[in-house]
Symmetry: C2
Subunit: 337 residues, 2 copies
């Protein structure tokens, strides 16, 4: 039997709020009976969720009321200072109190990061939190960090990201020693800037399965499991990916709509095109971890629907079951001082 | 009639050397009778090219022998110091001497950059050369720089890149005031690092058609014509694009080969899939300019075939005809001091 875990869900976050979160929660409870969930939200939302659940899950479904909701465009500092009883903060507090093993929110990224840092603090030996997520690869996903939490990093911080990324990839991909690469503009030792070169030296002494520098096109080759960069470069790479995928999808659509014959050809090719779409579906990769905090916090995309939110909850469940915080702590401890 | 221009071609550069360069040269001469070309290469290669040309182009096809060839893996400093009579350098020297209006090489990027800087020097007011190339966009290509010549940049250097990129995009896209964006990790003024924010301030005072920050996915939207970044970020973005395009192509291929039925569907959809492939064909975008030098130098991809090399030569022809160096000089002059 799987280890029992409890996950706190911000029921109000994201563009769809409880319309995505509550169905995802009920589907999760239905699928995995060693998971308990606590919904955090406005009382009327919780009341509706209670009715939807029809007493099916007993104590496995908990409720924690909140009186406030952080909006998507609120400044992080404002959310932190003024909305102390928000659903976003309530979910994080449950992790802090040890009631939940992890929390998930589709809410405002900046507010989630600021509140989580304030409430949970950092893990010992980690300077800054980083955002890590899976992206598609040839044979299996690749984990990338940092995706935008830090605009500039020291070599030591890149090493910390590598250690945390290695733990996340190991747990999520179920591999013992994930291959870790540093994102650079060439694979030779002399390439890149000083920070990346120094980070490369630190990584070769880290005990990680460090494979060296990786270029932008190497992210997808599936000969690397974790790609480390500062948050500026990582964020640009992630959004460039999204942009290219959308561009190609738009080109494909245009080509299959060019004339009536092409339209028919498109209908005939539909199953393959749908399969492609599914393989690249960003919802499958939903659920970025804010690693480095003393608590598991999963950021779901603001536009997440039920399917996407369920995937974010799955990430939280795996990280909680595998005990990612203890694993990161041990890896940090094992480093040469 | 178009303005007459002379372009020097390194006949030995790239993986295919003269097998790509000579046919591309002859096709160019055939297509555009106001272009003259000078092939620079080993005597036996020039002799063969002379035979291939069959006296068809008279003085429009010139030859300059070289005794050395820079290899693709040669260190730039070694190429510069030891191979003073290389075909790569010979082509650049023709630009320096005013015999050619521009040169094109598929050779070693580092060696080309180092030799061009040494021979041609920088344009007044420009600190560092940058690499600019077109990438695909929704309605028309977007020009990106720097793609890897500079790993770290000052705000002033990013401004210089923007000025040069604006000239290149204006000439290549034939638009009067190209829209210029700065690559960043968010579109709000407070996003990114200090260098990008300061560069944003300089750009808003530059007189350019500056539209603000652009995120990675914004590169392809065709609401921006020039995207400016330092060479580290630009190179990662460019290679990430290539990687995603290859990943999607591989996924598509897999889906259409999954079983016999899918194979037939793929055959039926072939014309649309071929059209997509053509639209994304990197060879169409071949020909990166090394801007900032006091001379026009076009870097063709090392793997360029005849079609790709012809496109690089076309870029050289446009830049030479439009007088890109004078245009850049005027724009630099017009800046507030």
């Amino acid at each position: 039997m799987s280890r029992k875990v409890t996950i706190a869900l911000d029921a109000m976050g994201g563009d769809r709020g409880s319309d995505a979160v509550v169905p995802a929660a009920l589907a999760t409870l239905e699928r995995d009976d060693s998971v308990s969930l606590i919904l955090v939200g406005l009382p009327e939302v919780l009341e509706q969720a209670r009715r939807d659940a029809k007493d099916r899950y007993g104590s496995r479904l908990g409720f924690k009321p909140a009186t406030e909701v952080v909006t998507m465009d609120e400044l992080p500092a404002d959310a932190l200072r003024r909305k102390k009883d928000s659903s976003l903060r309530g979910a994080i507090e449950l992790v802090k109190e040890g009631v939940a093993d992890a929390c998930v929110s589709s809410g405002n990224t900046g507010a989630l990061m600021a509140t989580a840092r304030y409430v949970l603090k950092m893990l010992p030996g980690i300077d800054r939190p980083a955002i890590i997520s899976a992206v598609p690869g040839r044979e299996r996903p690749t984990y990338m960090l940092d995706l935008g939490a830090n605009v500039g990093c020291t070599p030591q911080q890149l090493l910390q990201f590598a250690l945390m990324g290695s733990v996340v990839a190991s747990d999520m991909l179920d591999v013992a020693r994930p291959r870790v690469g540093l994102l650079n503009i060439g694979v030779e030792d002399i390439k890149g800037n000083e920070v990346v070169r120094e980070a490369g030296e630190l990584l070769s002494k880290s005990g990680l399965n460090y494979i060296g520098f990786v270029e932008g096109d190497g992210i997808f080759h599936s000969d690397v499991d974790v790609v480390v960069s500062d948050g500026f470069v990582g964020n640009v790479a992630l959004k460039t990916m999204e942009g290219v995928a959308k561009l190609i999808a738009a080109f494909l659509k245009e080509e299959f709509q060019r004339n009536a014959l092409r339209g028919i050809q498109g209908l005939i090719a539909k199953s393959a095109l749908e399969a492609l779409k599914e393989r690249l579906d960003a919802r499958r990769y939903n659920g970025a971890s804010l690693v480095g905090l003393n608590g598991i916090v999963i950021k779901s995309h603001g536009s997440a629907d039920q399917f996407a939110f369920e995937n974010a909850v799955k990430t939280a469940i795996v990280e909680a079951r595998k005990g990612i915080l203890v694993q990161i702590g041990q890896l940090i401890e094992s480093q040469p001082h």
